[in-house]
Amino acid sequence: MLDAVLHEAALTRAELDRVAFANGPGAFTGVRIAAATAQGIALGLQIPLIGVSTLAVLAQQVADSRGLDAVQSMIDARMDEAYVGLYRRDAAGILRLQGEERLLPLDALRCPGAVYCAGSALRALEAAGLPVPEGDADALPDAAALARIAGHLAAQGAGGDEAPINYLRNRVAVRKTPTVY
């Protein structure tokens, strides 16, 4: 796929200036595959790495395809929770995070005002029998939206050796107290 994209764009590896990846939140292993692959490319080509929120990428993709100025991204996080972020378009056309990205229980999800909602959490709401706001449950973050955001960030000088993953869900293990005889 990497070769096919470069071929279509009539670019060589050496002409790449940055490598960007969606740095979460989302399925842990999936995010890490993107992160580690991007790390390998950045190291090999000796170019900076840019991490962009999966929620931001989803918002950009939906806002651009529907001509909207605000989108609330809501990705199903399983375990009756969702990753949520509210985004508004800035003067440069980039969707900017309003407040914080959060991991919320499905029944605590709210759509502020008449903001268009997008993401797999809409389907989770429906399955849980909760009210479903207006939006697109099938929308997925895509690499073109990621590249648009990253291109804008790169023009502002973003990028570096490291780009940490933003898991949002960090309670992933339980401490056990062993029985002592």
């Binding site: 993107a34 790390q39 950045a42 293990a173």
Partner: protein, 338 residues
């Protein structure tokens, strides 16, 4: 040919650059043990998180030292067996790097890395040999005729020997990973009045079973509870004696059955002092040569992957087309070198 090896199959992030021509080696190793200790075992998700956070910075450091990415002629990574999510990190990093540098890429079998680790020592064994692989994840006896020509002689039907050590240590209230701590506790007494069973030594095969030994330890502890320091040490001693003797009996049987005169011991449990002594005595009595990898290559590391991969890359092997990892993967599926 300079080969980069990437190992992320469990809880060690290992990187190495191995020069097949000169034997020169540079490596980096990061152990996550501290992170997993409070959970009493390896938490796969935390392991994967650590790999993806540590591997790239470690690699940058290693390459800076080696003169940059131009030093890499080929890239190999642990394809399996191991934790799926952890394997994916090393495999993805390797794949991204290989694509960027347009260098050959190959997934390596983790256990082949262990089998060949003794080749990195100053006194490498010659083929053929019998290998005993004993670690937290594996217990197996393998007949090694040559690189890629492996025959599984026996393996654990349940817990790996290192796992049995760690679990019994946990029952004794020792912190994870308790194997070495259990051995240290056992060494505080000269002998034990307790006798633990030697599992599966009275049948002809070369398979192992260690979970019963852990249960025997638990039952003993419950009978003797509350335990004082001396009885804890005696339990540890009796447990270790049973494991060491069982391994010794099976190794002798494996050498005779396979008709080999060399025994190679690899894996973290190979660092156990009493096991080394017992196998030394057994090998002397059998007239066999005994080999241990350097202690740093006993546990998981990038060097053994770089070595095994370098030999295969040099023989023309490459990853073709489909890219995957193999959390479960038999050694016997591997192809011999041409």
């Amino acid at each position: 040919m300079n080969v980069l090896g990437i190992e992320t199959s469990c809880d060690e992030t290992g990187l190495a650059l191995y020069d097949l021509d000169s034997g020169g080696l540079r490596q980096r190793l990061y152990s996550q043990i501290e992170r997993h200790r409070e959970y009493g075992g390896v938490v796969p998700e935390l392991a994967s998180r650590d790999h993806v956070a540590k591997a790239a910075p470690m690699l940058r450091e290693l390459l800076d030292e080696a003169g940059g990415v131009a030093a890499i002629d080929g890239i190999v990574y642990t394809r399996g067996p191991g934790l799926m999510g952890a394997l994916m990190v090393g495999a993805s990093l390797a794949r991204g790097l290989a694509w960027a540098l347009q260098r050959p890429l190959l997934g390596v079998h983790h256990m082949e890395g262990h089998l060949l680790a003794p080749m990195l020592s100053e006194r490498p064994p010659e083929f053929p040999f019998v290998a005993l692989l004993v670690s937290g994840g594996h217990t197996m006896l393998v007949d090694v005729a040559a690189i890629g020509r492996y025959r599984l002689l026996g393996e654990s039907l349940d817990d790996a020997v290192g796992e049995a050590f760690d679990k019994t240590a946990k029952l004794l209230g020792l912190p994870y990973p308790g194997g070495p701590e259990l051995a240290a506790l056992a060494a505080t007494v000269d002998h034990s009045p307790l006798t633990f069973p030697r599992p599966m030594v009275d049948r002809p095969g070369l398979d192992f079973s260690f979970s019963g030994l852990k249960t025997f330890a638990l039952n003993t502890m419950q009978q003797l509870s509350p335990l004082d320091d001396r009885s804890r040490a005696e339990i540890a001693h009796a447990f270790e004696t049973a494991v060491v003797e069982t391994l010794g009996i099976k190794c002798r049987r494996a050498l005779r059955q396979a008709g080999r005169g060399r025994l190679v011991v690899a894996g973290g449990v190979g660092a156990n002092r009493r096991l080394r002594e017992a196998l030394g005595e057994m090998a002397d009595a059998e007239g066999a040569e005994l080999f241990f990898p350097e202690p740093e290559y006993c546990t998981d590391n990038g060097a053994m992957i770089a070595y095994a991969g370098a030999r295969r890359l040099a023989a023309g092997q490459r990853d073709e087309g489909v890219f995957d990892v193999r959390p479960r993967w038999s050694l016997e599926e591997l192809t011999p070198l041409k």
